[in-house]
């Protein structure tokens, strides 16, 4: 379910571009209990959005219990 939730982070500086935030809440496996979820940060550039320098956030990086979290189900900015 990559793309089920989307958000935009504004540019950090005037000459930079926004970052696209993409939630993939079912990431982690076929079984519901394995779906810890992941959030991708895809940066804008003079050539538009590029998968290069893609960053990810996962539930494991945060205090939540990672199993079945569906991290990234909803996003806002």
């Amino acid at each position: 379910m990559f793309g089920s939730a989307l958000a935009v982070l504004p540019p950090a500086a005037p000459q930079e571009y926004p970052t696209l935030v993409v939630g993939a809440p079912n990431y982690g496996g076929r079984n519901e209990e394995d779906r810890s979820g992941i959030v991708h940060l895809i940066r804008g550039s003079a050539d538009g959005l590029t998968a290069a320098r893609d960053q990810v956030l996962t539930a494991r990086q945060h205090p939540q219990h990672p199993i079945g979290e569906q991290f990234g189900w909803q996003l806002t900015s």
Partner: protein
């Protein structure tokens, strides 16, 4: 929910969807002030409100999605209300949207627009459970002073054009949103599905989520379309489709798809023609 400058002051105002209210749904508008949100002059909108087209029906989901944007450039944001399960004629769940003009005293039914595919010049046709109005993205896809509106219809399906799900785009003018130059985008239009490649059980939900911003490649805003059930290799599913803006609007010659299996050094680029463009 949606935030915008809907009237009365320069403070932001809040629109809150209540899609379950009285079974058909409604939307509440609370106006901002120096002391925060206030309930004075609050508005409640539904399809029973005078001047609002249609009629309230059970499970319409009026207000399930909301957006704001100054489409006519008069300084007041318009309020966009999605009715994703709205019944149009005999088509159940076709969906529709209402656009209420912004004024100094808040959104008004005077001059309100009611849009659904195949009517009032909007491309496409209604299909059952198309869910037109399930998601919105407001941006200036031409880079002009007028904002434009992208509308998700993730359940739309047509054997003729292939793909399940569509996104419609209405462009803003000094008279508000107009059907002139409107576009309908599907997976076929962005090159990720071939014509007649349609499979009834395949529901990628093209247009289930939308955002707009200028991510580069020019001065216009770009549209990102979520396709969360798109099939991709391996365990992954889902993709995002980027359609870049241009002085002529969203361009079929400037699209890109990114998924979790896209190599970091490359994202697929396609050059297909979109319905509604010359």
């Amino acid at each position: 929910m949606a935030v915008g400058n809907l009237g009365y002051s320069s403070h932001d105002d809040l629109a809150v969807g209540m899609p379950g209210r009285d079974g058909a749904g409604a939307a509440l508008v609370l106006f901002g002030s120096a002391s925060g949100l206030i309930s004075d002059d609050r508005q409640v909108w539904d399809q029973g409100t005078a001047g609002i087209s249609g009629r309230p029906e059970r499970d319409d989901d009026f207000g399930e999605a909301l957006a704001t944007g100054d489409f006519d450039g008069d300084g007041h944001d318009e309020l966009v209300i999605g009715v994703r399960y709205d019944r149009i004629a005999d088509t159940i769940g076709a969906g529709s949207i209402h656009v209420l003009p912004g004024t100094s005293t808040g959104p008004t039914a005077d001059g309100a627009q009611h849009w659904t595919p195949g009517q009032s010049g909007l491309l496409g046709q209604t299909t059952e459970t198309a869910l037109f109005g399930d998601a919105f993205a407001v941006g200036s896809y031409t880079g002009s002073d007028h904002l434009d509106l992208a509308i998700g219809s993730p359940g739309w399906n047509s054997i003729d054009t292939g793909g399940a799900g569509a996104v419609h785009v209405l462009y803003g003018t000094s008279n508000g949103l107009t059907a002139r130059g409107n576009q309908q985008w599907t997976e076929y239009d962005v090159g990720t599905r071939e014509p007649r490649d349609d499979q009834p059980e395949d529901s990628p939900r093209f247009g289930a989520s939308l955002v707009a911003a200028d991510f580069g490649r020019g001065k216009a805003d770009d549209l990102v379309i979520g396709v969360p059930e798109a099939l991709t290799p391996g365990w992954a599913s889902g993709a995002v489709q980027i359609v870049y803006g241009s002085p002529y609007g969203l361009s079929p010659a400037r699209t890109r798809q990114i998924s979790q299996v896209t190599p970091a050094s490359k994202a697929s680029t396609t050059t297909r023609r979109c319905s509604g463009l010359p």
